[in-house]
């Protein structure tokens, strides 16, 4: 019998090797990949999210669970993504040109991954062209840009303008300590979030419809 409870608990505990072994075993024994995903991994991540909201879990638990989920996904993805069907939404993220702050952006990336996005992290000091290239190459659904300097925030406006010019219809989300919702609206971003947890909520909302 498929032991989804054990898989779920291992993800919640952030035990990535255990998750890998258990998922491998489940698949080997003929378990349904979709079921393992939904009732094992995704169910676990929902529990982790709840615990975070309640203040029982913190970033380190979240990140460990996300990493454990990633291990499971590695095995399930090839089984689920047959042909050209894209199973997961793709998010391209990066810190804009001139800015080397990367902690916040990386945390958002890890959390998005945990929530089931495929994340392409372009790193820091990312030029407009590189965002556009990565979005095209990966047929991305979401662009997440980070800036921590008031002098580099403006570069986000440039990227959003360039996306329009390039005819790319992609949802954009921005963040970073000095940013405000108002600034995000002003530059025409589709979403803003003040921290990683709300960034995940926002991202899911944006790519839904």
């Amino acid at each position: 019998m498929l032991d989804l409870v054990e898989i779920r608990d291992s993800v919640i505990n952030g035990a990535r090797n255990e998750v890998r072994d258990l998922v491998e075993k489940a698949v080997g024994e003929g378990g349904d990949a979709q079921k393992i995903l939904n009732e094992g991994l995704v169910a676990a991540i929902n529990v982790v999210g709840d615990k975070f909201e309640k203040g029982e879990f913190f970033l380190p638990e979240l990140v460990m669970s996300a990493a454990a989920m990633r291990e499971g996904l590695k095995i399930l993805r090839p089984l689920l993504e047959q042909g050209n069907v894209k199973l997961f939404k793709v998010a391209v993220i990066g810190t804009v040109r001139g800015d080397i702050h990367d902690i916040g952006k990386s945390i958002v990336g890890i959390m998005l991954e945990g929530a089931g996005f495929s994340v392409i992290d372009l790193g820091v000091d990312v030029e407009t062209d590189r965002f556009i290239e990565a979005i095209r190459q990966n047929n991305a659904d979401l662009l997440g840009m980070s800036a921590l300097l008031t002098t580099t925030m403006e570069n986000m406006r440039g990227v959003i303008g360039a996306l329009k010019k390039a005819g790319l219809n992609i949802k954009t989300m921005v963040g970073g300590a000095p940013l405000t919702e108002q600034f995000a609206n002003e530059i025409g971003a589709d979403g803003y979030a003040p921290n990683a947890a709300s960034a995940v909520r926002k991202a899911s909302e944006l790519v839904k419809g």
Binding site: G55, F58, G98, I100, L149, T150, T151, E154
Partner: protein, 481 residues
């Protein structure tokens, strides 16, 4: 003796140092600067140009520690404000670089900071006694971004006679700043002797030197401008989740930057300015916490007692968003610790919201707290006069000391409040029952209405303007390219 606070034992410091040497030699430091890598390689470090990682051997560290200066001069536009960072005394200053928001001192609303706020901020720091120097704390959100840095530099120089502290994002900006300061002091040699400004150049934790920051730092080193080598490792995100592991990362990064700067310009003035920080583990944000206080003691220990070099640790910093009890608590604790470890550079004045917001009233309140903590760490000699045995004999049991000449001579040394309320309830009520932030706001208004620092002499200022105009057009052109 002075009240003084230390933490590590000699053995513990030696272990941290040895561990740093191990990290430098075996894990290495990443430097995204060819210039820095080339210098390291030419002097015997092993360099991998694919990963940009340099493995720094022990002898390079030891040589750098040998040639670095053990004290640092802070020159000022007005030489009466010159002083030496000698590891014995904390020097208070305003905080932050380009803080994006300010609590408007008239409306109380949080809004974007603009160039006129910077002028006010610098003038207030120029006026207040406990600010020994002036950090260029505020962003000028109203100006085009490529010229914000150089403009705030010139604005600061024009509005204070004290030493200023700033930053440069790359070597080009650094060159213009040096040229302007050279004009004011009258030559490169003079600037080296009395550097009018210092710079904070950051390290990216863990263990990475950014190209712009390190190349600008090398430029400043060549001109004799003191460099505050500053990384901000955070336990659990950019450093191991232990206090000591984070200290190790901080220490290693400092040594790495030191080696590069000393190889590039032996004897260049440097300050141990690593600021390991506490974190909010729900968001990852950097915060004020008991851990960040403890780090300040660790940094001062490593700098002063292990390496014999001046240091910086955060001072009047707070996570509070307004001037409430939390702000007072965090600022007070932190400044006291900074004074007790004789943090040569003790910033934070005026800061709120973990360096995201600023307040002119906070500058005035922080000036008061700084006065209190500096009194706390004064030197108290035990001698006949201070023991005052003779006076005690004269007064005898049950008398009073009010009529003594000794009292008249000595009471003036006691601390006196400048804005805190120390009155009776009745007189406090009579004078309007004002909370401290209102009193501080009145002081802000008074300073702005009455205090004008000496301007830069006209002929020199003309030359400053010329270089500034040239810098602006070149920096704008570069940004467009």
């Amino acid at each position: 003796m002075k009240a003084r606070l230390t933490w590590f034992s000699d053995d513990e410091m030696a272990r941290i140092h040895e561990a740093s040497l191990k990290v430098l030699a075996s894990v290495g430091i990443r430097a995204d600067s060819k210039k820095a890598l080339d210098i390291l390689k030419a002097n015997g470090a092993k360099v991998n140009y694919d990963t940009n990682i340099a493995f720094i051997p022990r002898n390079l560290v030891e040589e750098a520690l040998e040639v670095m200066p053990k004290t640092v001069v802070y020159g000022a536009r007005n030489p009466k404000y010159d002083y030496i960072l000698d590891k014995k005394k904390a020097h208070f200053t305003a905080d932050g670089f380009a803080i994006p928001y300010i609590v408007d001192w008239e409306t109380g609303e949080r809004r974007e900071s603009r160039s006129e706020d910077l002028v006010r901020m610098v003038r207030i720091a120029d006026y207040l006694d406990n600010y020994d120097e002036v950090w260029v704390a505020l962003a000028s959100g109203d100006l085009p971004t490529p010229i914000q840095g150089i403009t705030s530099f010139v604005t600061a120089l024009r509005n204070t006679e004290k030493h200023i502290s700033h930053e440069a994002l790359d070597a080009d900006e650094a060159k213009f700043m040096i040229e302007i300061a050279t004009t004011i002091v009258g030559g490169r040699k003079e600037l080296k002797k009395r550097p009018l400004f210092s710079v904070e150049q950051s390290v990216v934790s863990p263990l990475k030197l950014d190209e712009g920051a390190v190349e600008a730092a090398m430029e400043f080193g060549a001109a004799g401008i003191p460099v505050l080598c500053c990384g901000m490792p955070i336990p659990g995100t950019t450093a191991p989740a232990t206090i000591i592991g984070t200290m190790l990362i901080a220490n290693t990064e400092w040594l790495a930057q030191l080696v590069v700067l000393q190889l590039a310009n032996p004897g260049a003035p440097v300050i141990y300015a690593q600021i390991p920080c506490g974190a909010n583990y729900s968001t990852g944000a950097v915060i004020e916490s008991p851990e960040s206080l403890l780090f300040r003691v660790g940094v001062a220990d490593m700098a002063h007692r292990c390496y014999d070099v001046p240091c910086m640790g955060y001072g009047a910093n707070t996570s509070a968003k307004l001037l409430d009890i939390q702000a007072g608590n965090e600022k007070g604790q932190s400044l006291l610790v900074g004074a007790l470890v004789a943090s040569d550079v003790l910033p934070g004045g005026g800061e709120l919201d973990d360096a995201l917001c600023y307040s002119l009233e906070a500058m005035v309140i922080d000036n008061e707290i700084a006065g209190e903590v500096f009194r706390f760490v004064e030197n108290f000699e035990v001698n006949d006069d201070t023991l005052a045995l003779d006076v005690i004999r004269e007064v005898g049991p049950g008398g009073h000391f009010l009529e003594q000449q000794h009292t008249l001579e000595n009471y003036k040394n006691m601390w006196r409040a400048t804005i805190s309320d120390k009155e009776t309830f009745a007189s406090w009520k009579e004078s309007g029952a004002k909370p401290l932030d209102n009193v501080a706001a009145e002081k802000v208004r008074e300073i702005l209405a009455t205090h004008t620092p000496q301007p830069i002499p006209e002929d020199i200022d003309k030359e400053v303007s010329r270089i500034y105009e040239k810098a602006k057009s070149e920096l704008l052109r570069k940004a467009e390219a």
